[in-house]
């Protein structure tokens, strides 16, 4: 600021620690607050006032615009790009869903005999049956064998394995001869583990239908299911199958 130069002329202010005389009250001393507020109308004063109008205006404008949009105005460019691409991906997916549903609707409308409706209903019944575990299933998948020579496997290990398989996209899972459903639970019991009320014996065998590669990768991640089983003293082997049959079903 150029008035620095002008300000440097008077002697420096005494530091704060030193006691200083109260500011001069005599007429020739620098002006006090009252004097400061006395209006004087010179061109420079008016100009300064004008600048202050500008400052106040800009200040309020900025504060207002800051309050208006807080969600995205502070986000960085790459975050915004990420949000945008997320949104466009989602809208693309939804558009695909919409197309499928429109096609189904058109088919149902064309179909006077109800054949398509029946087919659709059967297809959905099959899907729900597979999810609920009331139908046997067949497909590509993996076979996870957990050997337990030391008796170290606890129910929580089996639960971890089950959850990891679910997260990796397993559609149908069978543990020994128990079909896993939404409410499957494992309990530690004397002499073994109980799944859904039925005792399990080692070796524990998980049959999971889904993408074998994804599930194998998920189980093998560092610190994942296989590693923690092995560090606990159990053995774990995974074999992929192009065709796997899950025959156990849950009672309705």
């Amino acid at each position: 600021m150029s008035d620095d130069d002008a300000r440097r002329d008077p002697p420096e202010e005494p530091p704060e620690e030193q006691p200083e005389e109260p500011p001069g009250k005599s007429a020739e001393e620098p002006p006090g607050i009252i004097d400061l507020l006395r209006p004087r109308t010179t061109a420079g004063q008016l100009m300064g006032g004008l600048l202050c109008v500008l400052l106040g205006f800009a200040l309020v404008t900025q504060v207002r615009s800051n309050q208006r949009d807080t969600a995205f105005s502070t986000a960085r460019q790459d975050e915004l790009v990420g949000i945008l691409s997320d949104l466009s991906q989602r809208s693309e997916r939804l558009r695909g869903d919409l197309r499928d549903l429109e096609a189904t609707k058109a088919e149902l409308e064309r179909d006077v005999q109800g054949g398509t409706a029946l087919q659709e209903a059967r297809r959905r019944a099959t899907t729900y049956g597979l999810l609920a575990g009331t139908l046997p299933a067949e497909g590509p998948g993996i076979d996870l064998q957990i050997g337990d020579p030391g008796g170290a496997v606890r129910s929580v290990n089996l639960l971890d394995a089950l959850q990891e398989l679910r997260d990796a996209g397993a559609e149908v899972i069978q543990v020994n001869d128990v079909r896993a459903g939404v409410d499957t639970h494992f309990l530690d019991a004397a002499g073994g583990i109980v799944a859904d009320g039925r005792p399990l014996r080692a070796p524990y065998r998980f049959l999971a239908i889904g993408d074998p590669h994804t599930m194998t990768t998920a189980l093998n991640i560092p610190g994942g299911v296989v590693r923690s089983l092995r560090s606990a003293g159990a053995t774990a082997t995974i074999t992929s199958h192009a065709r796997l049959t899950v025959s156990a079903i849950r009672s309705r």
Binding site: M1, S2, D3, D4, A6, R7, D9, P10, E13, E16, E20, E21, P22, P23, E29, P30, P31, G32, I33, L36, L37, R38, P39, R40, T41, T42, A43, G44, Q45, L46, M47, G48, G49, L50, L51, C52, V53, L54, L55, G56, F57, A58, L59, V60, T61, Q62, R64, S65, S73
Partner: protein, 110 residues
């Protein structure tokens, strides 16, 4: 006094019109405002010390805001806009504080 009235008028005008900040001005307006605040505190301090000069105030006000905005603009072109605007705000903040301290000493003697 006129400056104070001007400030109030500006605030009222801003509240009345609710203007939107144009997009090209958005990165620079906050910095310019901080620079203007610094100039204003400097002016008050100079006034209290009896060395106030209207011409110096007007020139310093305008040049401060323009230079501050220009620095940020340059930083944006160089890809260090956010860091540079932080730096400018820090420097101006320090100046505002030292000016405020000088004003406080003049007014309250402490």
């Amino acid at each position: 006094m006129i400056a104070l009235i001007g400030l109030v008028i500006g605030v009222v005008l801003g509240l009345l019109f609710e203007p939107t900040v144009p997009l090209w001005l958005q990165p620079y307006l906050p910095i310019a405002i901080v620079a203007a605040l610094d100039a204003m505190f400097g002016g008050v301090r100079a006034r209290l010390e009896g060395i106030f000069d209207e011409k110096v105030f007007v020139v310093s006000f305008v040049s401060n805001t323009i230079i501050a905005a220009l620095i940020v603009f340059l930083g944006d072109q160089l890809g260090v806009g956010s860091q540079l605007s932080t730096g400018v705000v820090v420097v101006l903040g320090i100046r505002i504080f030292s000016n405020a301290a000088a004003i406080r000493r003049k007014l309250f003697g402490a």
